[in-house]
Symmetry: D4
Subunit: 256 residues, 8 copies
Amino acid sequence: MKTVLQKLIEGEISAEEAEKMLKTMQIAELEDFAKLDIARDVRTGVPEAIFSEGKEDLELIQIIQKSSNQGRVIVTRLEEERFLSIKEKIGHMTEKGYKIEYNSKARILVVKNHETEKEGRIGIITAGTSDIPVAEEARVMAEEAGCEAITSYDVGVAGIHRLFSQIRRMLEQNVKAIIVVAGMEGALPSVVAGVVDVPVIGVPTSVGYGVGAGGFAALNAMLQSCAPGIAVVNIDNGFGAAVFAATVVKQAYKGD
Amino acid sequence: MKTVLQKLIEGEISAEEAEKMLKTMQIAELEDFAKLDIARDVRTGVPEAIFSEGKEDLELIQIIQKSSNQGRVIVTRLEEERFLSIKEKIGHMTEKGYKIEYNSKARILVVKNHETEKEGRIGIITAGTSDIPVAEEARVMAEEAGCEAITSYDVGVAGIHRLFSQIRRMLEQNVKAIIVVAGMEGALPSVVAGVVDVPVIGVPTSVGYGVGAGGFAALNAMLQSCAPGIAVVNIDNGFGAAVFAATVVKQAYKGD
Amino acid sequence: MKTVLQKLIEGEISAEEAEKMLKTMQIAELEDFAKLDIARDVRTGVPEAIFSEGKEDLELIQIIQKSSNQGRVIVTRLEEERFLSIKEKIGHMTEKGYKIEYNSKARILVVKNHETEKEGRIGIITAGTSDIPVAEEARVMAEEAGCEAITSYDVGVAGIHRLFSQIRRMLEQNVKAIIVVAGMEGALPSVVAGVVDVPVIGVPTSVGYGVGAGGFAALNAMLQSCAPGIAVVNIDNGFGAAVFAATVVKQAYKGD
Amino acid sequence: MKTVLQKLIEGEISAEEAEKMLKTMQIAELEDFAKLDIARDVRTGVPEAIFSEGKEDLELIQIIQKSSNQGRVIVTRLEEERFLSIKEKIGHMTEKGYKIEYNSKARILVVKNHETEKEGRIGIITAGTSDIPVAEEARVMAEEAGCEAITSYDVGVAGIHRLFSQIRRMLEQNVKAIIVVAGMEGALPSVVAGVVDVPVIGVPTSVGYGVGAGGFAALNAMLQSCAPGIAVVNIDNGFGAAVFAATVVKQAYKGD
Amino acid sequence: MKTVLQKLIEGEISAEEAEKMLKTMQIAELEDFAKLDIARDVRTGVPEAIFSEGKEDLELIQIIQKSSNQGRVIVTRLEEERFLSIKEKIGHMTEKGYKIEYNSKARILVVKNHETEKEGRIGIITAGTSDIPVAEEARVMAEEAGCEAITSYDVGVAGIHRLFSQIRRMLEQNVKAIIVVAGMEGALPSVVAGVVDVPVIGVPTSVGYGVGAGGFAALNAMLQSCAPGIAVVNIDNGFGAAVFAATVVKQAYKGD
Amino acid sequence: MKTVLQKLIEGEISAEEAEKMLKTMQIAELEDFAKLDIARDVRTGVPEAIFSEGKEDLELIQIIQKSSNQGRVIVTRLEEERFLSIKEKIGHMTEKGYKIEYNSKARILVVKNHETEKEGRIGIITAGTSDIPVAEEARVMAEEAGCEAITSYDVGVAGIHRLFSQIRRMLEQNVKAIIVVAGMEGALPSVVAGVVDVPVIGVPTSVGYGVGAGGFAALNAMLQSCAPGIAVVNIDNGFGAAVFAATVVKQAYKGD
Amino acid sequence: MKTVLQKLIEGEISAEEAEKMLKTMQIAELEDFAKLDIARDVRTGVPEAIFSEGKEDLELIQIIQKSSNQGRVIVTRLEEERFLSIKEKIGHMTEKGYKIEYNSKARILVVKNHETEKEGRIGIITAGTSDIPVAEEARVMAEEAGCEAITSYDVGVAGIHRLFSQIRRMLEQNVKAIIVVAGMEGALPSVVAGVVDVPVIGVPTSVGYGVGAGGFAALNAMLQSCAPGIAVVNIDNGFGAAVFAATVVKQAYKGD
Amino acid sequence: MKTVLQKLIEGEISAEEAEKMLKTMQIAELEDFAKLDIARDVRTGVPEAIFSEGKEDLELIQIIQKSSNQGRVIVTRLEEERFLSIKEKIGHMTEKGYKIEYNSKARILVVKNHETEKEGRIGIITAGTSDIPVAEEARVMAEEAGCEAITSYDVGVAGIHRLFSQIRRMLEQNVKAIIVVAGMEGALPSVVAGVVDVPVIGVPTSVGYGVGAGGFAALNAMLQSCAPGIAVVNIDNGFGAAVFAATVVKQAYKGD
């Protein structure tokens, strides 16, 4: 600051120039703080994802049209019927170069005008076939977040051999994180974490009945796993697991 | 009944004899019903087991002395200090041919004047070392109930190879049931049930903390197991698992 | 291995023969491990059972057609409407010698081209009429698993005399396990276990309301039973109880 | 009121007398409302009972000395050591005709200068020996509330015959309510309610471990009982069960 | 027995007569036991009540037709549509002198050919209007069980004065028990029990949302009430409360 | 800013003075944001309160000595033994004008060198005597936060008249909030909120046993109260209730 | 009273007059008690609000027509379809000067013949868009209760800067309480309470899934907040939060 | 294999040599499978960590002496008194070049004969001072696992500014994961994840009381966080968080 004032005194700069320079410095200081927030957008590499439950169709359409300015918008937990009804209203966006992709298993809608470049791989495993929708939500999100996803569905604890060959395939392809989706007793992440050297992200699913209803048995089993190297996200939260995994992967491509 | 009365009329038997015979017949009829209850003692082959928690030392000593008339009495959940204090009061029973056996891991006291003959084998597996006290409770009870117990402790899901070699050893020795004791995420019974053709009895243990505190995560995981062929007993209930396993074993030695 | 190599050197066998022999030995060693997995199929004597909830009709039809190669396929929790719609697509299988049996109480579909031979008996008891669907699921599964099932439905704790005569009938027929299905307060397994010398498998049902909603009161009562000789499966899990009971029965027919 | 004023005018009574009479009338009207509150004391026939937990010894001693003016004071949940220390401070009350009775099983202290007359009987049954302290709390309270108590402890579901003979004994003595105290799976009240024609009051106890810890399994089983004619009080609440039972008994001795 | 045998010997009676007499004695002894069970029917004064949930229409119709031989049959939790459909099938019973009464609030169907005589009164209070269906279930059941019911609906804690005048009205009519039906925070039974000298039976209702969803907040509040003289039944269990209350009332009309 | 720069150019101020002035302005701008944070201290009018549980004595002593620079420091949940041991180490602070006040019921230690001026009143009511420690914590905190506290302890739902006279006393003194502390069934706040026109702050206490253990029954009852005008704080959180109440009171003394 | 009697004696007043005067005095005394109840109506400044769930349309219509005599009636949780059907029946009320206002987001119907004057302001903040319905319920109620509401919806923890600017706006407008509505992890009230000096009323919402289902995670987070100055109402209880906030605001406008 | 056999035939190698070569090949194949297991040791870079709770001192000493052959052994949850008693028995190990390091906050004992090289950094943040022991457990473990740990303790949500400057410091030092340890309402991880682009690992702590007791409120808040990029470990599981974080860090240093 002294330099600026000195220059002002010495007539090198005008009062207006000095004021502007000082203001710029001050803003820089404030922006320094705001930078943290910018980092946030950088983080996942994906524009905001919209959780469609509890929002009306009209609200969703407005959000999609507004958010797509950012080049891409993702809507999660969108049932097919809702998609079909929304599609009619946003169909015209294809004329502007947008692609409208809907995955009915994952219940995810992606509207975008460019592809994300892929960097790094993650693995996604499910214990049963009923866990696939959650896994697909994770797969689509991971891909939109710039990761390549290697999937292996329905390889429960039962057929241990089959499971191991799938895990080996993933390790050979250098996955940097494995998302393990499991309902029922949620034992699969423990078994996987017992044999790999990459972070295992457990996603309990609400598949099950009786004591397993809602996915709490699986959640608790994963949290309580005797194999270290596991962290857990909310029940059925394929979205969160993918964003977390993508964040892990990105660490490997940042400088040190 | 007619026969008896006829004999009475014909003077073959006296009124007293007739009354006694009739009463016996009547009792037999009542006993027919009671027989069900007798079956109960036959069932486990062990005299009543006393759950020591919530009973005072004096009560226990009285029960031991009274019950031992049946040749054997078993006291469970007896801490070592309590045993030592009780021992002083019942030590004299050794003079009458009783053996006083205390297992401090299992926290079981057995006072008996004869050995039970063994018939049939069961396996007992624990996931960790902290599960051993519950497993030992099961082992002592199974042996008192007339089963040979083959144990394999601390073979968690982590070292799958080691686990399988232990299971194979048990199957080769023809165990008729396997008790699997596990806390934490309780995944072990599922893995075992996935590879054996004998009933698996899961015993969740209260080992663990956080969401695993109290053993409920393990209990729910076992109940919710995706591998069939598992049934479960209460948390830390090594006693119940052993009695149940012994009952299973006995089915194989009863005629058809 | 030495023998093989020796024979090779001595010209008794060719290099090709030696290689084949050595490979066979090696495979045998690997198979030794895999044997555990084969044991699994042997275990229940039934081909895979498909849990239909969470699977679409199309998926089910494909699984049925594929799995039936094994001679039999079982689909559980299949509502009647779903069965009727699926039936149209698989009806042609009857031409190939398959029988299509659907039990609407049990909600089980069995497609098979042969009958299972029965060996050994189990008993199935329900406390109330609302528990019958779960009991029927158990009955059908037990029969498919090769057990004869003796059923006695709606004999609650209320009419103790009636209950006892039913139990006696089962014991006289040498059942090797009794499945007791009960909702509400779940007291029936305790009462049954108090008078029999065979394993009692408790199946809590989700019948009930208020504190009994979901079957947790019954589940906890069974786990906490003061009568030993009870093990428990998940709420409404008639399937699991039957598979477990069948496994118990089979122990009696294996050599020692 | 008119009458009073008339008398005043006519000089039959003085202004002071009139005021006093009117005030009495007014109070009577207020008391009419308060009568409801007085009814409360009448209800149980016992003076306030003090729950000692969470109160300091000094507080208890003050309450005892103050409350005893009512002729009797009852302190519940008072551990023996506390009683012994308190006893020293209130021992002198015996000189004034007070009796100091302490029941260590029930953990109740009664200080009184007269006996309550007994009218009507209730039965008290426990499933196990560990339930006895709660039952004794109920017995002492019932007696202080003016009921005769017929007890039968440790008659679980196991020995059905023994249970029935005890119940018959109670019915023959015309008990007007039966308190059934049970922990574990809490099945006893259901069985009792199935065979009697008097109200059954279930008292779950915190005896048990695992899923039975705290008494919730027993509580829920009792609330969910399939036998009607049962109502339930809080876990371990022998006191409340006794007061409720006494209130039931009193209905039979009030006019219609 | 001696007398009979003596008479036989002395020729006073024939062997046939003796046998018959002895058998009668024996049966008497057995019946002595069975009497307990008969007592059960006597207890509530009502024939079996059928819980309609989980039963199909056809099952209900069969049960109604069979049970009505006893003069009366009660079906609970029967939605109006179900009643209308069932009514068509049982309408012809009116020709045989049966009355078909359906209360849509209480969701109870009563089919009977005679009226129950009333003896004794109970009070029924609800906190809000949403609690009325449960209260009506209790009212209909209480009347069928032979009690006169005095009801006072929608008198919450808010308007204390109004509540007290209702309670006074009930006490003046000598009710022998008061059923208090309340959801939300369940405070009403505590307040009522604080001012009356008759047993208070709390019925929590599942009215409420958030922490009150399902009625558990109300249930726990009632169990935990600081006012003694309350016992509780299951959530929404108007039926159980009425049967319990009727049992209480009957104690007053039995001899001592 | 222009003004400053102009003055600098015109030589009215030196570069150093200009820099200082500009920096002050910049800080002011930043402080504008920080003002929110300062508001925080203003809010309760009390310096930070230290929750002593989970902190070691040494840590507490250091915090007390450091924080007291602010003129006052408050330590909550401090058991008497701990206070006595800490007192020795901080006793010398009295020489510097600090007062060391410890309330053993409230378990609060206040070290301060000045008194807080009181402005506005709140009421504090407890249902039972066991609730008093929590109420005392609230009272001490409220006073330190500058409120006058009117207390009325042990006025449960039982003695409605007594309760109402206490409430009237508080309303007459213009309390601006009433803290109602209650364990057990937690009904008191509902009753109070039903008759007052000031905010009622419910504080559930962990007093109770069985279903009331831990205070959850009381918490839920308060949250679910059918009387509007109640808000609730955490179980046993007298501290939080007092700070909240003080914040309410202060609204009345701020300008509009 | 003496004065009256004296006058009567002295003939200044007649007996009738005296009686009337005395009765008036007596009533005044009773009314003194009732005054508390009147205070209740004064409290919120709003007529009774009707919770529509669990009430039939017909009931609602009757209540609306009856309650509207008080000038205004409010119906909460009224779905749009129900409103439309009810509207037809009450439409004629507009002829009598009533306004019928329905807010479909808030699901509140207000029927009134005058506007409430506003005095004092509150702030209402939501974390997400799904929390808006609960916030709108609070807004409508607050306005009917005479408060001006400043709302700021969808300002989650994510965009901290945006949140702070909204809070500052509210503080500048002198809000006397801030209602913070949040589901999911419920962190927002803590953050808000950390920077304001007015009472924060947390309203957890049932938005969320998995462990967040039902709103319990948010409720517990708010109760457990480490920032003092927060009190909480039931899940989704926008109504209760508004009434509480209005009560807080009113304190500032009452004299001292 | 053919090559080996050919060489054998051609006399280039002896039968012994051939056998050895073939065995080696076979083992290689088996090891191919086992490699997965070896990967496990590689994964965390730390030898087995021993959870000391539930193990006796003697057991621990034996494990320490045996495991230390691997160069390092870690014992977690070891209270200071236990350490002091164990230290006497293992003190002699220092003579063999072992260092015995005990961290009383972290309650971790490390016995090792070499230092781990550090590669990569992680951040560790705690909300309060009571969370520090869990954070220290994480720090020690992370360092033993070869990570540099940057800690910042006691930066709760309250002082947002202070928190942000700490986060910035960590980001500037290129941490590849941040462990956030928080009890109470568990809001901190959400706030941190909102401003960083590295994986956030939430560790709920059991700090808290009332609804926060046991750490479940914090756990659920973290799982339910509205900020993506968070995964969670068990309550108080600093160990698991560190191992997970170390696994994340290692991904960045493995080739692609």
